[in-house]
Each structure stands twice: as structure tokens, then as C-alpha cells.
Amino acid sequence: MKIIDIISQFKDGLNKSRKDLANKLELLFHYSTNKSNFLERLEELLILSDVGILATSEIMNKFDQINFKEYRENNFICFKEKLKDIIIDILNSNNSKIDINKDRLNIIMIIGVNGSGKTSIAGKIAYRLKKESNNVLLVPADTFRAAGIQQLKILADQTGVEMINTKEGADPASVVYDGISAAQARKKNVVIIDTAGRLHTKINLMNELEKIKRVIHNEAKELSLEILQVIDATMGQNAIFQAKSFNESLGVTGIVLTKMDGTAKGGIVIAIKKELNIPVKLISLGEKLNNLYDFEASKFAEALLD
């Protein structure tokens, strides 16, 4: 897909949210009578986007250093660019892509709290990687959730990707073990593991995840492991605690930001990047299988502010 097409889809998906923010930004720019007035409204904007207090402070401090009069005299575009740059600076990372190597086993583990969109994402990632000519296997390690396995099965069928069999109530670590064995036997190079949603405060459930990770490392010697945490764009500051906990337990290699087709701005990823330095790798803007995009800081900031 051409970059231009992706941006326009991105913009369409963020349409409702950006319109709101952009209008406010223009109003902000033109009607703020003085610097403190302006900074106060900027703060409101950022907090309302779930950027959080700390990241908002940082952004505001950077703005505080600007000569306000100079900015009033400059045009809106210039000002927007400055704001964009500050945000991009926080979000930028050298490590923001999913790296799939055709010559080894690539394991992608999908984790997150209940209702964040893990199973949908598992399906979408399977769809994309299959399209890119990988041999993909789906592993339904969510054996807890009622009809969770069925849900993933339907997605597997829709994407034409194989899924290993298992039963509700089976031990997730055993399922993963079976999955990796099957992947090795069937010469798969990608294994996508869907896990059960869990609150990061449940120690036994976090231990279960750590066990799964151990099984993965025991079973597959030559592998690349991507641990993706799914974060719902409508989430508030608690997402930071979630990220911190999951990261402490497992080491999160990337974030998938879902449900960006709503009106929530998803600014929480700015806060997470700032505090934990975990990069956003993927972003999802809808329920269709192809509504999955690589995260790019400049596009995220641009689509948001344009």
C-alpha cells in the first residue's frame, strides 16, 4: 500500500478526533491573549488526550521556552510544526518495527488487560504476515475465556492461517509448548500466541505469563521473541501501570495501540514512551482484518494535528 494511501486512511480513521483537536488548536492559537492563557489551554488539550501530567509538563516546558510573541506573529502552520516536533521527539524510537526473519522462528506473544483487543490483533497480525508470505501458526493460549478459542478459530479461518487445536481449560503453557512443537514440525516461521486478558495486578496470572515465556525459551533455541502489549486508546493513566507491570514481568518489546477509530486520542502512548521507553509498533483503526498499520511517530502526530 502506498504511503499516501496509508496516511489518508489513517486520517480518515482519526477524522473525528483530529477535527476536534485541530479546531481547538486553531482557536487556541488565535484567541489566546497571552502566554499563560495559551499554556493553560494547551495543557487542557493535552490532558484531554490522555497524554498525562508528566508528559504534558514536559511538552509545556518546551513551549514555555518559546518566545510567545514570536509565535503569535508566525503562522499557525509553523506553530503546529513545533508542537508536532516536540511530540515526535518523545515518540521516536530506533526500534519501532516488527522484525520478521524468514530463516528462523519468530514468536509473537500478545498480552494485555481484559477487553483491550488482543484476539482481534492476533487475527490482524496473522493476516498481514501471511500476506507477506510467511508461514504462520496461530496459538490460542487463551483457554480461559468462554468461546475464546472459537473466536480465534473464526479469525484463523478468515485469514487462511492454521491454528492448533486445544480445549477450554487447558494449561496455557502446555498449549504454547504444543504450538511451538507444531510450528517446528510444520516448518512455520511465525507463531502468534494469543493470551487471556488479565489485570496486571493479579500476581498468579502474571506468573502464568512468565511461565509461558520460560516454555518458549526452553523449547525454541533459535528464535526471535516479540512481546506485544495491546493498549486500548480509550484507556487512561492506568495503562502506564499496566505497561510497567507487564514490562517488569516479561519485558514488553512493543505496544499495539487499538481502537484508534474512536474519538480517544491515544495520547497515553506518549506518556508510556516517556516513562518506560517502550515503543509503539502497531496501530489499529477499525475492525477489518487489514486495519493494522506500522506506527510512525510523524504520521501519528501529523494525523492528530493536521
Binding site: 468461546a147 487512561g236 474512536g262
Partner: protein, 444 residues
Amino acid sequence: MFANLTDKFQIIFKKIKNKGKLNEDDIKNCLHEIRIALLEADVNYKVVKEFINDLYMQIKQEKVTESLTPTQQIVKLVNKEITKILGSKQSDIAINSTPPTIILLAGLQGTGKTTTAVKLAHYCREKGHRPLLIATDIYRPAAIEQLQVLGEKSNLPVFSIGRNENAVNIIKAAIKYSSKKDIDILIIDTAGRLHIDDKLMSELQEIERNISLQEKLLIVDAMAGQDALNSAKIFCDKIKLSGIVLTKLDGDSRGGVALSLKKVLGIPIKFIGLGEKVDNFQAFHPERMASRILGMGDVLTLIEKVESVYNEKELKRLDKKIKNHNFDLNDFSLQLKKMKNIGSVNQIMDMIPGFNNIKNNINFNKLGNERNELRKIEAIISSMTIKERENPNIINGSRRKRIARGSGTQIHEVNRLLKQFYQVKEILKKGPLIKNISFNKISR
């Protein structure tokens, strides 16, 4: 990462140079910290703004600054205000005089509608009703199966006619079905939908138009951020919501969304979800939610306990004694006893200046140690004569020996106690008891 409200108060009050009465700046600092706490709890920005303004007025009106315990007063006031906004307990389901009672559950994707539907059905059954669950999510893969599996696990009936009929028709069929069975409550599980999805929002309106609904509940995730108010507003505009259910409160999310929704929409929060089991479902308690939002559940309980043990009159009396240098070992012993009554001696000691030094000198780390230590101290003081308690200066070497023997302790322990007493007395001279209250960190 996010120090809690009480830690911040501690820092503010450490800086207070005067005798503990709050001036305008102190109030502003307090309000600033409260504002941050509320934003960190995900209360909507605009709601916070209004709340802080109202609070400021109240603090002035209530003459908080004239009280002996300004910190306690402000914290209590904030808690009271939030509790008031969150509303009284309203956990009743509006039961139709002519059955069936029909309840609709709606909300964004992933909020917990299906799980809540089953919990609600279980709850109703426990109250003597005969509920029927209705599966109308014809979009999400395996959504109907999910409801069916959950229903089966709890022995609750689920009605479904597959994915080929629209929601209204499914419900109508369910009503017809239920009229022939002994069913008095219908609980409709719907598909998760975006508030900006016109097609799906129309579906909700269609249901409202065609079916007589007694309850229309919005299911909201307690982890929701700033945008939750926007989406809830639109749900509210499209269908007349009668209540809110707040889910996933078994996590550590502060749940500020509750305050935003109640304040702006005025819809009662009826129930909360506290886990994935079918009985993890409770009526909403405004007071508990208020202290959760503030991030200080434990401390409020502690404040209540301290207040129950120290009333203002006693504090004033103690103040006077200290001012007049009359604080003696009797008073010391009394304070320790009071702390024992409160329980959590560790935390209480941190709250009272001077006593936190004792805590540091005594090894309270091992379980049961604090009781032993306190018992020892009490024994030592009990072995003293009245004169000795009133005037510890006269306790010389031979007296110390006698006291040690009488209390079954060592002389060095008696020495240590006296040293601690003098330390406390010294510190108390600098400022009144409990005025400059410092709260301990709340451990989760």
C-alpha cells in the same frame, strides 16, 4: 512514579514554618495536589476544574484554617464532596409491575458487557427472579457462543436465534418465548459499538423505539480515560440511559471516570464489576469509590480511627500540657495505648511527629515485634511510681535498676525508653500534636 496525595501533603506541611494554620498559599498548594490526584485518577479535565473551584469556595466557607487539624479537614472535605457527587446507593433494578422487566446493556467494545450480563442475571436470580439472557451481538466472532458458554456454566438460560436476524427481531422473539415460560427478567447483551458508529447507534435507538425497556445500562470500563465522558454523552443522547455499571474494579485503576460521568450526566452508577466470576458483582458504594479515586482508601480509614481515639477536646488538652512543658510519662503511655487501640501502630506512629522516631529505634520489622515492644514500654512505665512518671528527671541509677527488675526488662531498655520520651517531648515542644500530621505511604 505517582506519589500519592498524602505524601504530597506531607511535603507541603513539612514546609510550613508557622504553627500549622493554613494560609492562602497553603490552600492553593493543597488544591493543586488534589487537582493532580484527580487527573491522575482519570477524572475528566473539565470536571476537575469545576470541582476544584467549588472546593476552594467550601474551604473558605468551612473555616478549615481555624481548625486544629487542617490536613484532616481538607482531606475529609474532598472525600465528602466526591461522595456527594457520586450519589447515594441506588442499586435497585427498576422492576416492571407487569413482567417481563427488560434490561438493555450497551457500551464500547471490550468494556465487559457479556460478562456483566451474566453477572446481572445471576444477581437477579439470587434475588428470586427468573432471568433470561438474550444474545443480540450478531457481529463479533463467537460472541453468541461466549454468552451461551457463560450461561451454561452458571445454569442461566440464554436465548439466541443465530446471526441472521436483527437485534429487534431477536428481542421480540425472546419476549414471545419468555411469555410461555416462567421468566420475569430479560437481559439483553448487545454488540460493543463506537458512539460515532451511526449504523450501530441507530440499532440501539431502534431497540429503544420498539421494545419497552425498564433499564438501559451503560457498561463502562473503570480504566477509561478522558474520552469516556464524550462517548458516554453520546450514548446518553441517543438512548435515555438509566444507569451505569463500572467494570474491572478488581484492578488498581482509580476509576475517576465514575466522577466525570456522574457529575456531568447525572446517571446513577448502579453496580460494579470486581472480577471475572459470576458473583463478582456488587452494588455501588459512593464512599468507597470516593476514597479510591483519591487514591487513599487506607488513610481515610486511619483518619477515622485516629479521630475516634483522639477527639478535639483531648487534643487541645494535650496541646496545653505540651506548651506548659507538662507532658510526662503518663501522657506518653496514654498516647501509646491509644495508638494500640487504633491498630496499625506502624502507620499511626508515622502520623505523629516525634513518635516516628521511636518507630525507627524499635525494630518493628518482625511480625509481632511491635506488640512486644509496646508491652515492654508499658511494663516499664507501670513499674514507675506516680512521682517518677510525672517527673522522670528524678529517675536515677538505682531507680532505673528497680524499674528494670520490676518490669522484667534490662536497664538499657529503661534507659532507651527515657531517651525516647525526652526525644518526643523535645519534638512536641516545637509544634502541637497532630497538627503537622504526616501520613505514611499507603502500601498496596
